[in-house]
Amino acid sequence: MRLDILNHGYGPRTKLLFALIRLFSGHPVPDAAKLVFYRPDFYGARAKAFTHEAMRGPSAWSVGDRELMAAYVSKVNESAFCVGAHTATARQAYQDGPRVAAVLADLESAPVAEPLRATLRMLGKLTREGKVGAEDMREVLAAGVSPQQVQDALAVCAAFNTTDRLADAFGFELLSPEGFEAGAKHLLKRGYR
């Protein structure tokens, strides 16, 4: 990462933890995980709590749907690390790689249900343009999405617009395909806490 403190600024206990993770997973600790261990009282602890709530808390959206939203928002932000991580996680959650790839390649022609498509379209516009209007929301609601689902999707969007920016600004190193798969497995088993 681009700040030395994020590569080397950890205490002995955290360093030991990183070594154990490396040993048991067979992969280096992803930069996304390292970041939340650096001075966790400033950012990591609350960021994890919010992200976990958005991604794994109660919602009418499935975990796969929310991981796909995370991947899609990251694609709009061109955040390569987060696209890789959440494409892999959505793929594993859905057990359907082609569908995830199709959404990221062309949302309009992808084989997904209309409520999810309309929601992704709105999240894409919000992320890209920084704003959406009541008319955009009416289109999402007309596609059969409940107001609560819109709120849940906006929480996912908020969490990943933060993470994407940090991944790019701090320069998270991309993982190997195997590394992303292992990370996805962990996120599905343990979530973001």
Binding site: L3, S79, L126, M137, A169
Partner: protein, 110 residues
């Protein structure tokens, strides 16, 4: 209500990075959060984090460091910029939804 949990968790994050203890002064963190009122070269870095994060370079961070920012201060200011931009998106989305659901109800038609 589950959604209140999400909003509460988000508010806790925003409140901490803005108002909690930090190595960068709270006023500077607020400026990074708002992407407003920072002086060069920090304004360029923070502006990119907010609006074009994929274009942040090593040189942007190096310039900020050369101007006297410590790495811990940059850690905080970059986080504030990221959390600030996404908080604005979250608020904009929730406001648009509120408008759509109020005006969309036939019983609110005049």
């Amino acid at each position: 209500m589950p959604d209140e949990d999400k909003k509460r968790a988000h508010r806790a994050l925003v409140d901490r990075v803005l108002n909690g203890e930090g190595r960068a002064p709270a006023e500077q963190r607020a400026r990074a959060f708002g992407n407003d009122g920072l002086s060069p070269p920090l304004d360029a870095l923070i502006g990119k984090v907010a609006d074009r994060p994929a274009q942040v370079t090593e040189a942007d961070l190096a310039a900020a460091k050369a101007s006297g920012c410590t790495e811990d201060q940059l850690f905080e200011l970059v986080i504030c910029a990221a959390v600030g931009q996404s908080a604005r998106l979250y608020e904009a989305g929730l406001a648009a939804l509120a408008e759509a659901t109020v005006k969309g109800r036939p019983d609110h038609a005049t």
